[in-house]
């Protein structure tokens, strides 16, 4: 069996046969034609109804909010087979609310697609029973927050598959604070010492509330 080697996060393989411009003069026209045909094969992978937004400076805030929301929903659709309907509907309600034009602060950035991609990867790995409250940073990064009484866990979903998290847990009426910044693939590992089920699962909360 051949098998495919799993790529590390930082080294995705781009399939292309194109010839670097500096090498163009070295190849025959026939070779160039073949290379462009192979590249056309890879371009064919684009979806026929794909939504490619134009990054035009003249777009109004309303158009930018629409583009950000539409891109997030299309990205969600790409993993919808791994999400249940109720969870997807709640997520869309939260995103709609975050991008309400009437409430929008001038100067803020709408949701960045790369941040939202990180969020989806995290949620589909952690599968929290309790869904987070969502917010947006000024830079357009999605922020997820879980609160149990005075205990907080906040995760900022950064572009390119990174996360930054901060948590506060009370012990003997004194707060303990921890923070970390890791690739999203190491989020579970990073939170593990802090018993994240406390925030993510209903059982975790019940354990917390039950008398000892």
């Amino acid at each position: 069996m051949t098998g495919i080697i799993i790529q590390s996060r930082r080294s995705p393989i781009a399939l292309r046969a194109g010839i670097a411009p500096e090498l163009e003069p070295a190849f025959s026209s026939e070779t160039k034609r073949l290379a462009s045909q192979v590249d056309a094969l890879f371009r064919h992978q684009r979806s026929p109804t794909s939504l490619e937004q134009e990054l035009l400076p003249g777009k109004t805030i309303s158009e930018r909010l629409f583009d950000a929301l539409a891109s997030a929903k299309v990205l969600t659709a790409s993993v919808a087979m791994h999400l249940d309907r109720a969870r997807r509907d709640k997520l869309f309600q939260q995103l709609d609310s975050l991008h309400d034009l009437a409430e929008w602060e001038e100067g803020d950035e709408p949701l960045q697609q790369s941040s939202f991609g990180t969020f989806l990867k995290a949620m589909l790995t952690v599968h929290p029973q309790r869904q987070p409250g969502l917010g947006l940073s000024h830079a357009g990064h999605l922020i997820g927050a879980w609160t149990i009484d005075r205990d907080h866990l906040t995760i900022e979903f950064l572009p390119n598959d990174w996360v930054r998290w901060v948590l506060t847990r009370y012990k003997d009426n004194e707060p303990r604070r921890f923070a970390g910044q890791t690739p999203v693939s190491e989020l579970t590992e990073g939170l593990a010492p802090h018993r994240p089920e406390h925030w993510f699962s209903y059982e975790g909360r019940q354990r917390q509330e039950s008398p000892r």
Partner: protein
């Protein structure tokens, strides 16, 4: 045959595209677009740009570009962005993103929208009927190698001596004799949107470009034939281990 054989169908996008022999006038195009406003409230202008890159014959000259066609159209979608129609001057494109509701729902929506489209723009000579299904098969990673051969029956065959690979992409065209049409299959490894998974695309484009039925019954019958073939091709190209993935 069960209409929805899988709990979690791997279809990321299903598309029906009807091509026409002659371009619509801008007025008809706009009326067709407006007629879909209630069903698909989200609107975006769509542009189909064809750029021509002109490579210089000397290395110290910059390449040139020329816009050959700039065709305006309308893209309309449901609020959740999963149901889409695109109205172009020479085609009507109808699409469903995941979650895929099954052929009965998808085809039923097409019949509804096709009737609406025809009511507004009248009869147009159909020159092409195409159905495209894009699937993504997400395989959980259990080690450094993912043996895609255990999940797929379509992949490049390489000599053992070459060992494992980083990525692949293949394209195959085959006849579709039942309708005198063709099938184009694209399959490739792709970056996974999930952690701890390797993902593979399986994309079928089934189409007919001659002797197209021009009446509704003929068109619907053709689409149903394409649907049956699409299922048969897909099932032939995956293994039971892949089927397990769609039902867990």
């Amino acid at each position: 045959m069960a209409e929805q054989p899988y709990k979690r169908p791997p279809i990321t996008e299903a598309v029906i595209a009807i091509g026409f022999g002659a371009a619509m006038e801008p007025g008809d195009l706009n009326r067709a677009d407006s007629s879909f406003a209630k069903l698909y409230p989200q609107h975006q202008d769509a542009r189909n740009l064809n750029l021509e890159f002109i490579m210089p014959d000397r290395p110290n000259l910059a390449p040139g570009t020329k816009i050959r066609h700039d065709v305006p159209g309308h893209r309309r979608s449901s609020d959740d962005q999963t149901q889409i129609v695109i109205v172009w001057p020479t085609s009507f494109v109808f699409s469903q993103l995941a979650p895929y509701p099954g052929w009965d729902d998808f085809f039923g929506r097409f019949v509804r929208d096709w009737a609406l489209w025809k009511k507004v723009v009248g009869y147009r000579s159909i020159s092409r009927v195409g159905v495209r299904y894009i699937n993504r098969i997400d395989i959980p990673i259990t080690g450094n190698l993912t043996h895609y051969e255990e999940f797929l029956n379509i992949y490049p065959r390489l000599p053992e001596e070459l060992g494992s690979i980083f990525a692949y992409a293949i394209q195959t065209q085959l006849p579709f004799p039942e309708i005198e049409g063709r099938i184009t299959i694209n399959s490739s490894s792709i970056p996974s949107p999930l952690l701890e998974h390797a993902s593979f695309m399986f994309d079928q484009d089934l189409y007919k470009e001659n002797n197209i039925p021009q009446n509704d019954d003929g068109l619907y019958n053709l689409l149903n034939q394409i649907h049956v073939k699409k299922n048969a091709v897909f099932e032939a190209c995956i293994t039971d281990r892949a089927r397990e993935l769609f039902n867990t």
